[in-house]
Amino acid sequence: MNRAGRLGALYWAVLALLATPLALLALTSLSDGLVVGYPLGRPTLRWYAEALADPAFGQSFALSLGVAASSSALAVVAGTWIALAAGALGSRALRWALRGGALLPLATPGIVHAVALRIAIQTVGLDPGPLAMVLGHAVHATPYAVIMVGVRLASLPPEQVGAAKTLGAGPARVFLRVVLPWLWPALFGSAALAALTSFDDFIRSFLLGGYDQTLPVLIFGRLRSGLTPEINAMATLVLLAACALGLAADCLAGHRRRPGALPLDPAKGREAL
């Protein structure tokens, strides 16, 4: 097997490894018994029916999705802006201060940050709820964007910016047509990380959510009585929904080509601007 074949095998092997524990979750959710474990009971779909009939599940799932989408958008915008500003600052000290400050939420232990945020929103008079959660999750995820965009930005070939400027493009145009397409993989990557981190987050959602429970908060509360097949059914439903969403997005985007690695293809010449 050549190297491409070996790498491909590694990819599928890792995917299988990642999926196996989840397959177990799904398997135990199909079992009739009240206890999650072996031996498995008779196959049944009743836990899925119960999960779907539970209003708390639907509400918390929708809330989790909404918070994840909003907070990841906010985090990417904030992180990109910070990375751009840090790159443009003249003073080295200010640059390091900005980057350091931006990265702090990542280095702070989760509970310390969550409690700090809780106290902070009280100080500004904001009530716990979806908005507080979006802000809290966004602040937590901003460092991902700052680092990934920063790294990608630093590798922007200077000739492209120079060429665009020489051709008369203003800063906004340069940004939209040259910089932004170049940053795309970093934007996508940090958005994905931010969204998943937000979706999975427990401690911030617990302290900032008030009576609006996201899915992890709901699950944590139910785990007190033990791991039930219903909880596993919920997790499997979420996984299936995520796969469905991913497939749908992929089909929709299938026609449009993503911008290539080089936004300014010499062959295309001026037209790319």
């Binding site: 524990p21 931006a102 310390v112 790294v151 998943l196 999975d200 979420v238």
Partner: protein, 284 residues
């Protein structure tokens, strides 16, 4: 007008970081320097550095911090070894049309709540779990991995793989295949191409991934809490315990949080990561 716009452009992030990132932490610093928090209603608690001093008392806490740091280093290393070939494969070996789908497939498992993923690992590795049941059925001896360091490492890896993968992917994806082709034409063999072309070009991505993963791992307490044995808990768990206790412990929790923050940042800087990737950009 141009100058005003540029000033605004630079000022907004500075203000945002000061208010949203530093502000909440300033309140925490204050708590760490109080004797109790919150004090009895109406009274202001006195200042005290006892919380920081408590860290130096006895060896327990320092040992726990040390263990956390080493566990984070090990996890980051393992994540890098695992994620790099994966990112390389998806970014460079898969046709662009299929890249999105391949990446999305890798991301899919992470939609499951982190806690449930850990319990799924328990179901997999327990004494009567899937793996051991299979081994016993095949007549082999069961593997007692669960509730040991191996299980904790596996759980941590499961939690942070993406944090390493995505920055690596972003860095590798921009690499021009013709550069590699050129190197091949000039006579470099596969190994040499990798070490002398691919790796250095992706160095900034490696740096980003390493820093993000290391810091993220330090703060995780779910994996060690659910998969660890009776040994020393990790520092993050100790901190969580402090906040769940009476007001005499909150300053300790806050102080320990800052100690972890300082230690983690120092370690991340020592990993030498940040320097190469973040030179001054040339735009605007």
């Amino acid at each position: 007008m141009r100058r005003a716009a540029r000033a605004l452009f630079l000022a907004v992030p500075l203000i945002w970081v000061a208010v949203a990132h530093l502000g909440p932490l300033a309140a925490m610093v204050r708590i760490s320097l109080l004797a109790v928090y919150p004090g009895p209603p109406g009274a202001t608690p006195p200042w005290s550095v006892a919380a920081y001093a408590a860290f130096l008392e006895g060896t327990g806490f320092r040992f726990s911090l040390w263990r956390s740091l080493w566990l984070a280093v090990a996890t980051t290393g393992a994540a890098l070894l695992l994620a790099y070939p994966l990112a390389y494969h998806v970014a460079l070996k898969v046709e662009p049309a299929r890249r999105g789908r391949r990446l999305a497939l890798l991301l899919a498992p992470f939609w499951t709540s982190e806690v449930l993923r850990m319990f799924a690992l328990v179901l997999l590795l327990a004494n009567r779990g899937a793996v051991n049941s299979l081994l016993r059925w095949a007549g082999l001896a069961p593997l007692p991995i669960l509730y040991g360091n191996g299980a904790v490492l596996a759980g941590l890896l499961y939690a942070v793989l993406l944090t390493m993968l995505l920055p690596l992917y972003a860095a590798l994806e921009r690499m021009r295949p013709d550069v590699l082709a050129a190197a091949a034409t000039l006579g470099a063999r596969a190994g040499r191409r990798f070490w002398q072309v691919t790796l250095p070009l992706s160095a900034s991505g490696v740096a980003a991934g390493v820093v993000l993963t290391f810091l993220a791992t330090l703060g995780i307490f779910a994996a060690p809490a659910l998969l660890g044995g009776a040994g020393t808990p990790v520092f993050a768990t100790t901190i969580v315990d402090m906040f769940g206790a009476a007001s005499g412990r909150w300053p300790l929790g806050a102080a320990f949080g800052f100690i972890l923050l300082a230690a983690g940042t120092a370690a991340a800087v020592c990993l030498g990561a940040l320097a190469p990737g973040l030179r001054r950009a040339r735009w605007p």
